[in-house]
């Protein structure tokens, strides 16, 4: 059974990169541009891992994380937060995300982290 990963990332180049990498590894990857669009998605299969990008002046991503962690049906789903903003590291802790990866990241680290979060 292929593991499902949902990726929320608004930068097209990065989402393509990550999706390519993860699909190469054999994961089932679905990409969404932002949390709003993710919440409006039509099929409700829950992912095995959520990768979400967090912007500077936009808390949508973190709000979603918090919501998921409070919901008993989604609480168990690991969340990996990426951000170009180092300052978001602390906020990510507050939002109880499972891991923070700052951009630009090392793809090997990304893959290692994804794999460990999924095991």
């Amino acid at each position: 059974m292929r593991k499902i990963i949902h990726l929320i990332e608004d930068d097209r180049a990065i989402s393509e990169l990550i999706a390519f990498l993860l699909m190469e590894e054999g994961y089932d990857v679905k990409v969404f541009a932002n949390p709003r669009m993710y919440e409006q998605r039509t099929h409700y299969i829950l992912p095995n891992l959520l990768i979400i990008d967090v912007k500077l002046a936009c808390n949508d991503g973190l709000t979603m994380c918090q919501k998921w962690k409070l919901n008993s049906s989604t609480r168990h789903i690991p969340m990996l937060v990426t951000s170009a903003y180092e300052g978001n590291r602390t906020d990510v802790r507050v939002a109880e995300a499972d891991y923070f990866l700052s951009k630009p990241f090392d793809i090997n680290e990304l893959l290692a982290r994804v794999s460990s979060l999924l095991s």
Partner: protein, 670 residues
């Protein structure tokens, strides 16, 4: 002799002669000494042989003018000592020991029954002591008389008994109109008590020295004087009166007051300059200036209104009020002066005097707004314009006075110089605000730009790393590695810029965690082992040390120190890392045997953008050590360097095991 002088050598007369306290002797008609008494011997200073000396008991005799008298000269008056002879001529005798005595000579011829003079009886009166005393008296009275100070003698009950010319000059009374009067004539009624005390002191034998007080002259004018009063004693040491020396110190006092006043002014001006050069907060400066200005100009109330150009070109008026008559109420908006009004006032561009504020209701109302009700109404105003460097009217200082005298006496020159200083200060404050705003924008921009740069960087790095996974020939792999290395440099530079903008904005947040510093050093050393082809890092004294700190930041500092050590020691192949511990701190030292630093460089090396001389070819922005210092200091630690030119450097940093700015350990979620 018995035959010749039966009356003298016998009986009581001889006794009287010999015992007399007055020097006396008898010579024969040739001047030979026949007899002398003890008093004469004392006067002469020796006992001459009788029959030998000519006329006098001493060898040397002078006239009163000091000319030596011969025996002949000196004998004449004695021999002819009758009638017209100068009875009581003054001569000087010199004793064998050289001392001289002034004497009066009183010769008296002894005449034989036949009428022939047969001898002379001479009496000598020693006037030496009297003479010295007279001379002294003459000198003393001359001194007293010529003294510029008043010298007054008074009895113990305060009656004036002597009065010199100085006293006449100072107090205006002639000697004949004041002698016999009471000393209270000279004392203002409210100071009578003082004289009672002075007399009390004098009676007790004490002197009153340089006592500053006030006396009244004949014309009724009060004169400040410095007084010295001493007891006067008679020859039996009994106090019989007092001598009083009074010096007129009006001039001195006036000068002192002037000096004091000027010193005060200078002090206030200095305070103004100081605050203007040190502070950049316009409101604070203006408040300080108006406080000092009202003081210096003796104004009852001072109002300074000024315009500041805030962001987007808005002109905002501020008002500062000071002075003793200021009621310290809130400054209300409706009391602000209209800009047009000030332009109208200062049409002449100079200071403007409002001699009577009744003619100027706007200004009058302004002062009334801030005046304490109890004090006198402000009637006069000096208005001083404040012009900016580009000659724009940017404000005004209004000094309000209740008293005409204070208003007339104000030094306008000073107010003008203060106004120009205020203008400069306001300009500085405005520029400072502008710089601050721009700096803030700059930091925001750097932060934003850095983040924006990171996004494409992520993609490039990602794709290059993907390429790396594929089979390729050696050349392609070498190029790819080069590209990735350069990419890391870009990443490092962006991170440095970001950190700086965070530090400047005070937003560098530390992410505390507990970790073993030994592991951190080992990790970093291993990274360098792979990345550095030229140097190997030798770790020394590694041990298990757990600290609570921002691991990533500490790692950043260590990497920075190691990179520098490698960069600046091109001729050696080794860098040493040492771990040391104390009770409270852990210290990491990075030692190289490279080019070293001069003392001047050591001082500046932790400042922003500092690059060691001759190192312009080295990559980097010169921010690494500045950042490291900030990071270590934010941990409550210390960073430093010991170095010698051509010998190498040791950079070190210490951090507490677990310490934060507020002295507590930061937990994960606070």
């Amino acid at each position: 002799m018995k035959d010749l002088y039966p009356n003298i050598t016998e009986g009581i007369f001889k006794e009287i002669f010999l015992a007399s306290p007055v020097a006396g002797y008898i010579c024969d008609q040739h001047g030979a000494l026949l007899i002398f008494n003890d008093a004469a011997a004392t006067l002469w200073g020796h006992r001459p042989e009788t029959g030998e000396r000519k006329w006098y008991g001493t060898l040397l005799v002078y006239d009163a003018g000091g000319q030596v008298l011969t025996t002949m000269d000196s004998s004449v008056p004695l021999l002819e000592g009758k009638g017209d002879v100068d009875q009581g001529a003054e001569i000087i005798l010199e004793r064998p020991d050289g001392s001289k005595r002034n004497v009066l000579v009183l010769p008296c011829p002894i005449v034989h029954d036949s009428g022939e003079p047969i001898a002379t009886h001479i009496t000598l009166i020693d006037i030496t002591d009297h003479k010295t005393y007279d001379e002294k008296q003459a000198v003393l009275s001359a001194i007293v008389e010529s003294s510029h100070d008043a010298i007054v003698g008074k009895t113990l009950d305060g009656t004036i008994i002597s009065w010199n010319r100085g006293a006449q000059r100072i107090f205006g009374y002639e000697e004949n109109e004041i002698i016999g009067k009471s000393v209270y004539t000279l004392i203002p009624t409210y100071l009578y008590e003082e004289e009672v005390n002075i007399l009390k002191q004098i009676k007790a034998g004490k002197q009153v020295d340089h006592y500053q007080t006030t006396r009244v002259s004949k014309s009724g004018k009060e004169i400040p004087i410095s007084l010295t009063v001493s007891p006067v004693r008679n020859s039996r040491n009994k106090i019989i009166g007092a001598s009083k020396i009074a010096r007129d110190i009006s001039d001195q006092l006036q000068k002192e007051q002037l000096i004091q006043f000027n010193a005060h002014k200078l002090g206030a001006l200095h305070a103004i300059s100081k605050v203007i050069s040190e502070k950049l907060d316009a409101d604070f400066i203006v408040q300080t200036v108006i406080n000092a200005t009202t003081e210096v100009t003796a104004a009852d109330i001072g109002i300074c209104c000024y315009w500041m150009t805030k962001g987007e070109g808005r002109r905002v008026q501020s008002v500062a009020v000071g002075g003793t008559a200021f009621n310290h109420k809130e400054i209300s908006a409706h009391s602000y002066l209209a800009e047009e009004f000030l332009h109208e006032i200062f049409q002449s561009r100079g200071n403007v005097r409002f001699d009577d504020l009744c003619d100027s209701p706007t200004v009058h109302a302004l002062f009334n707004e801030y005046r304490v009700i109890e004090v006198d109404e402000i009637r006069h105003c000096l208005a001083v314009p404040i012009y900016s460097a580009d000659n724009q009217l940017t404000g005004a200082i209004l000094l309000g006075y209740a008293q005409q005298d204070d208003y007339q006496g104000v030094d306008e020159e000073i107010t003008r110089s203060i106004a120009s200083q205020v203008a400069t200060a306001l300009e500085n404050a405005r520029l400072f605000e502008e710089v601050n705003a721009l700096n803030l924008k700059k930091n925001e921009f750097i932060a934003l730009a850095s983040h924006e740069l990171k996004t494409p960087l992520t993609t490039v790095k990602g794709y290059l790393q993907i390429l790396e996974r594929y089979e390729m020939n050696q050349m392609m792999r070498r190029f790819l590695t080069k590209a990735l290395t350069q990419l890391s440099r870009i990443e490092a530079l962006i991170n440095e810029l970001l950190d700086i903008s965070k530090i400047e904005a005070g937003k560098l947040s530390l992410y505390y965690e507990t970790f073993n510093i030994e592991d951190l050093i080992a990790d970093v050393v291993e990274t360098f082992h792979f990345s550095s082809q030229t140097h190997h890092i030798v770790a020394h004294n590694l041990q298990h040390v757990v600290v609570c700190a921002d691991r990533q930041r500490i790692e950043q500092v260590l990497i920075n120190l190691l990179s520098n050590a490698i960069k600046y020691s091109p001729d050696v192949d080794q860098v040493l890392v040492t771990l040391e511990t104390s009770d409270t701190h852990v210290t990491i030292k990075v030692t190289d045997e490279g080019v070293g630093l001069s003392s001047e460089q050591r001082e500046k090396i932790f400042t922003r953008f500092f690059r060691a001389e001759g190192t312009s070819k080295m990559p980097g922005l010169g921010l690494g050590l500045y950042l490291s210092k900030e990071i270590i200091e934010r941990h409550g630690g210390h960073i430093g360097v010991e170095s010698e030119i051509d010998k190498g450097s040791t950079f070190y940093f210490s951090i507490p095991y677990a310490q934060q700015d507020d002295g507590t350990v930061k937990t994960l979620f606070d």
